[in-house]
Assembly symmetry: C2
Amino acid sequence: MPTLQSARPNPNAIRGPRGQCGTCEIRELSVCAALDEVELERLRLIIASVHVQAGATVICEGEAADNLFNVVRGSVKLYKLLPDGRRQVTGFLFPGDFLGIALNETYAYNAEAIQPLQLCCFPRRKLEALLAGLPRLERRLLGETAHELAAAQDQMVLLGRKTALERVASFLIMLSERAVKRRRPASPLDIPMTRTDIADYLGLTTETVSRTLTRLRRGRLIATQTRGRIEISDMEGLRALVEGGGLEGR
Amino acid sequence: MPTLQSARPNPNAIRGPRGQCGTCEIRELSVCAALDEVELERLRLIIASVHVQAGATVICEGEAADNLFNVVRGSVKLYKLLPDGRRQVTGFLFPGDFLGIALNETYAYNAEAIQPLQLCCFPRRKLEALLAGLPRLERRLLGETAHELAAAQDQMVLLGRKTALERVASFLIMLSERAVKRRRPASPLDIPMTRTDIADYLGLTTETVSRTLTRLRRGRLIATQTRGRIEISDMEGLRALVEGGGLEGR
DNA sequence: CGACACCTTGACCAACGTCAAATCCGGTGG
DNA sequence: CCACCGGATTTGACGTTGGTCAAGGTGTCG
């Protein structure tokens, strides 16, 4: 059983003002996009705004799945642990992403803030009661889950069959595409996660991630000014890496 | 564009009798379990029974997702391909399992029969029209998708962090548990897929799968009489392998 | 300015992949 | 019934990618 963190969000204690949905900055990215003003009003009554500090655990594998969340600001890593401590990061979440899809009684993974986090919290029981009257929301939830499933299948291909170089290149492209979806620039990329997180996501070690980034830097496909920020200098080259062959002497 | 097989199921051409739902042998395993007699009657009107020969492609990545299926008899492998031909098998389906969850317009993977197959085919457009009136079916579909997502996350742990020995042991345990779910014995295990399929599922090569099975055989954890059938002689030992350490001198 | 966590680099190693050669087994035809 | 064919599987020898271990380097925050 993983250690619980004291900074655990308790939506009954830590909650910001309700009723901000109208001005929510991720409205059109999130599940709420499926709703009109009237429906949104019904949803607004059950949600709470939750803040979580960086490094805190948001949800814990095996715990009762009492809440679902929408990420409003910050980013999250999802991971599972083997009994001996080996870790697999199964995904990263950014603003607009949905957290806590678990149709079982308990969460199936851990979620930890990798940046200060603002979440929109839906108590599960209340949400389920509402779901019957909001078919569009249920449909959207199904779509969201199916989308996550597709992403998981892509990740299986990466983990089962790609080389270290292809994995890191795929990772950078994924981050870039998700940044664009959030209306951020595709290129100076913010990398909020540590090398260890990246390694645990890609099924590698920190050393291999580091060496591979160095190779990409030497090949002039990427560049780094600041720590935690990577510039993609040659997106075409990166894509070629993932889809075609190797670095071919670069 | 992948080559189309001539044996592709066309539910408008190859269809068996309708209206067998009442006696369907996988009724309580499948999505239909969520429905009562009256609701089932409405579903019965849109379904068709489809037969597919072993080795035939059922659905093709990138093709229009016109149909959903329920596996009635036989088994299926799902896989994705990289441009250079590397393959990742993302899952195996057995009777009762659902095939074709794709809320997009096109399928995201290929599905191929590994045994003669009997499928129950739902035309997607008709099913969607029905969904509005069958909330329990929609809920069940969401549950099914969430379940697949959880399985995919477990597979990520396997592919990213487990050793060859742990992967093969996990695979055998998974097959055994799914056999039990279908009311089959846990131990003389039918293995309908080839070593290549297993390797592509576990992110290994056929040689490594073969060598690992030999190690398990030598360790007296499994035994084989017939080709395509494996007896689990020491389930405790197998579980210990996956959860704890190595073979410890066995 | 110093502690500390994170990142990078190097030398070496091992698990798993590659290549190649048996061996097994089921199906087919005589 | 038996010999033979061909794909699947097993086994062996060897190579390579990425892991391990260890030693710096670097940026950040008190």
